[in-house]
């Protein structure tokens, strides 16, 4: 980072903290001011919440703001908007669209959600079948999306639809920002095997979207979707937890609390501890080398490694608990969860089963590592050049 840029960032942060003292400024007002000063997404151009700098400047800004007593809770409250939606708008939206959406997104006054996955399009997102048909200055949407976080709280949804079923699958899609409060949008909780509903199903029944809400060209939906997914990977990665934290920390705690001393279970615990630590050190190494621009381990090994590890560790923790591992203290209440933190062991065992599915199944991650990183050849594709309507779908 050049010294000038650093100085400019520091000065603006100091200015913000001075003008809007965090302890006496309402959060929304503070975040609005932060946006206006270009301290929301430092790499955005000026006027879009940024300063035309680099992503890593934002890390510094966030650290200094936190030290200065400011809240960055908006980033969690509107995770999908701030981490992914902003990137999509920055890359693909018109000036008017940015103007309309970015600021209330950053202040978390308007929550965003993502509408990609469908019952028939999981790993194969590009196979989606939610239809949007043009009707004058509007589009009429019908279909179903699943695994939508925050949909029940969201004002806006990032929606990919099929607009040309006769084009090959990657070409006939169009991307919209849909008003989640519009008529014909039905959000229902999607209960998981834990008994909780972190996610939703969203049904579109003749929902009308103004053409003004379209992002990029008609037929360019896949390109925009890829931008979204790229930002998702950036958002999911990063941030190094301390040693022996997370579920391996929980397992160690259970080991100690139960006073267990079976050497066989101890060796299993140490095995998991070692694997978890190796994965954690790899994240650290990847982060350092990536930010120094030096080739290093592929970040995407992390998602795969943690999916495996979380599943193994939480299952092992039940073994450590013995008969207590057959209990489910929270019960199956079929509710929306009130927190997203670490779960007690038996709920953690259930919840982590999805770690190898959500955000890209482990099978897809292995394909990616094999093909994009190691350069192994792809499978023969039977769906790629066919018109979407002709692709076999069971």
């Amino acid at each position: 980072m050049s010294d000038t840029d650093l100085a400019r960032v520091d000065e603006l942060v100091d200015e913000l903290l001075a003008e809007f003292p965090p302890d006496s400024t309402p959060e929304i007002e503070f975040w609005g001011a932060q946006y206006d000063k270009g301290l929301a997404w430092a790499w955005h151009p000026e006027g879009s919440g940024g300063l035309g700098l680099q992503r890593r400047h934002q890390t510094r800004i966030n650290r200094r703001l936190t030290e200065g007593g400011a809240s960055i809770e908006n980033r969690h409250r509107n995770l999908l908007g701030i981490a992914m939606g902003a990137g999509v708008l920055d890359a693909h939206a018109t000036a008017e669209q940015k103007q309309r959406w970015l600021r209330p997104m950053f202040t978390a006054e308007e929550i965003w959600c993502q509408l990609f996955s469908e019952p028939g399009a999981g790993s194969d997102v590009a196979g989606l079948s939610t239809r949007a048909v043009r009707d004058g200055d509007e589009w009429v949407v019908n279909g179903q999306k699943v695994w939508t976080t925050l949909a029940h709280l969201a004002k806006w949804g990032m929606l990919v639809t099929r607009t040309d079923p006769d084009a090959p699958k990657h070409q006939g899609m169009t991307y919209f920002i849909v008003d989640m409060e519009a008529e014909g949008v039905d959000v229902r909780p999607l209960y998981q095997i834990t008994g909780e509903a972190e996610f939703n199903e969203v049904f579109f029944n003749d929902t009308r979207i103004p053409d003004w809400n379209r992002i990029d060209d008609v037929g360019a939906g896949w390109r925009v979707a890829l931008t979204t997914l790229m930002n998702e990977r950036v958002a999911i990665g990063g941030g190094s937890p301390p040693r022996e934290s997370g579920y391996i920390g929980q397992a160690v705690e259970v080991w100690r609390e139960t006073g267990e001393d079976d050497p066989v279970l101890r060796d299993e615990l140490l095995h998991l501890w070692a694997e978890a630590e190796a994965a954690r050190l790899t994240s650290n190494r990847a982060d350092e080398l990536a930010s120094a621009g030096i080739p290093g381990p592929e970040g995407s090994t992390g998602k795969l490694a943690w999916a495996n590890l979380n599943k193994e560790i939480t299952e092992f923790t039940l073994d450590l608990l013995g008969l207590d591992g057959t209990l489910y203290p929270d019960g199956y209440e079929l509710t929306r969860p009130d927190s997203f933190g670490q779960h007690e062991p038996s709920k953690a065992f259930l919840r982590t089963r999805a770690n190898s599915i959500e955000g890209g199944t482990s099978e897809i991650m292995l394909n990616i590592l094999g093909e994009r990183v190691l350069g192994l050849p792809g499978e023969p594709r039977v769906d790629k050049d066919l018109p979407w309507v002709q692709v076999p779908r069971g």
């Binding site: 996955s117 019952p119 028939g120 399009a121 999981g122 790993s123 194969d124 196979g127 699943v146 695994w147 999607l190 209960y191 998981q192 095997i193 008994g195 139960t258 267990e260 079976d262 066989v264 279970l265 599943k311 299952e315 039940l318 073994d319 608990l321 013995g322 008969l323 207590d324 591992g325 057959t326 209990l327 489910y328 203290p329 929270d330 019960g331 199956y332 079929l334 038996s346 065992f349 259930l350 089963r353 999805a354 190898s356 599915i357 959500e358 199944t361 482990s362 099978e363 292995l366 499978e379 594709r381 039977v382 769906d383 066919l386 692709v391 076999p392 779908r393 069971g394």
Partner: protein, 376 residues
């Protein structure tokens, strides 16, 4: 190292039990009924139990002189395999397998005459409190004990993970009396008995913590004489083999579900079962389910041979527990997102699998028993 030669060819009796069971269970326990029972407070419907009794199932392994069918572990295994397929909820395992084995193996002739006929008819539903602590699966009670005062005993202690205790008529309880382990049949409504239903991972099989706070018992309540440990050990092995059969049924059902989905689910224009990642996983499921089945079948077939059962029971217990848990977990993965939803049935098998792998001893614990039996 010796082994016992057994035959795996099913007898006509066994074929009949299997087809009757499959038909009855499929009709009575369609998945909607199972789901209703799972979410209900009691967790089962006593009329279902009566029907099973009428089919002769509750008395299947009870001698004819006590009103049972006089059949053995193999036939019970066939029945439990079918129940395992459909996750049949209720206290059948607790009463007709666990409690029945314990009374049979521990009880005197008088005890048999007193208790078995009522278990056989299904009028009596019983369970067993075996474990004082969550870990170790020791059959020697660490904390539960009886003290004798004249002709009476006072029972004090707490039993963990007592299956279906909230719905039974009788709780069999092990307790230490000095160095000996004694067994009592306790009325769940007796003074000093507190039954606390627990919130459980696998809601197809309920559990309670049962506390005994100075429960007064008489000689009438006692089951067995002298140290009951040898009988308890045998009953534990028989129950392990029976549970293994149930696990095999569950594993088979979970595998069938995965294979079916792999054929019908298309991604990228191909059935997902055409990808080696899924195909090979299903093939490994097949291998594991067949291995598990072999150990469960073998265990049931040597149940009369004490030395061989000592090997075969923990073998089946460890192999079937691991196979079922792995298959049920991978079934969810094969299904992807839909397999993680409450409305899909995949999770019911995973919960049954994981819980059942811990009920009578973890695979690691069962392997320890195996090692003792084979001298390793």
């Amino acid at each position: 190292m010796a082994e016992t030669r057994v035959s795996y060819t099913p007898t006509e009796d066994q074929e009949l039990i299997r087809s009757t069971a499959r038909q009855f269970l499929t009709e009575r326990f369609d998945i909607e009924t199972v789901r209703d029972l799972i979410m209900s407070d009691e967790g089962f419907d006593r009329t279902h139990y009566k029907e099973m009794a009428d089919l002769g199932w509750t008395g299947l392994a009870i001698a004819e002189e006590h009103g049972g069918a006089g059949l053995g572990s193999v036939e019970m295994g066939v029945l439990l395999e079918e129940m395992g397929r459909l996750l049949t909820p209720g206290p059948f395992f607790a009463s007709a397998v666990l409690a029945t084995s314990v009374v049979t193996e521990v009880g005197t002739t008088d005890d048999h005459a007193r208790i078995l006929p009522r278990l056989a008819t299904g009028e009596l539903i019983a369970t067993v409190g075996l474990f004082d602590t969550a870990r170790g699966w020791s059959l020697h009670p660490e904390h539960t004990m009886v003290a004798r005062h004249g002709g009476k005993w006072t029972l004090t202690g707490t039993k963990r993970a007592v299956l279906d205790a909230g719905m039974v008529d009788l709780v069999l309880v092990t307790a230490a009396e000095g160095d000996k382990v004694v067994l009592f049949a306790v009325d769940p409504n007796a003074s000093g008995v507190t039954i606390t239903p627990e919130s459980v991972l696998d809601t197809t099989r309920r559990q309670s913590t049962v506390e005994f706070d100075g429960v007064v018992l008489t000689e009438e309540d006692r089951v067995g004489q002298g140290d009951t440990t040898p009988g308890l050990v045998r009953a534990h092995r028989l129950a392990t083999v029976a549970l293994a059969a149930e696990q095999v049924g569950g594993a088979q059902a979970a595998m069938d579900m995965a294979v079916e989905y792999a054929k019908s689910r298309y991604q990228f224009g191909r059935p997902i079962g055409s990808y080696q990642s899924i195909k090979h996983r299903c093939a490994n499921m097949l291998m594991k389910v067949e291995h598990a089945r072999s150990t469960a079948y073998y265990g049931a077939r040597v149940s009369q041979d004490d030395d061989e059962l000592a090997v075969a029971a923990p073998l089946a217990g460890s192999v079937c527990s691991e196979a079922f848990t792995w298959i049920a977990g991978e079934n969810i993965q094969v299904h992807g997102g839909i397999g993680f939803t409450w409305e899909h049935d995949a999770h019911l098998y995973l919960k049954r699998a994981k819980a059942s792998s811990l009920l009578l001893g973890s695979p690691r614990y069962q392997r320890d028993l195996l090692g003792r039996a084979i001298g390793i």
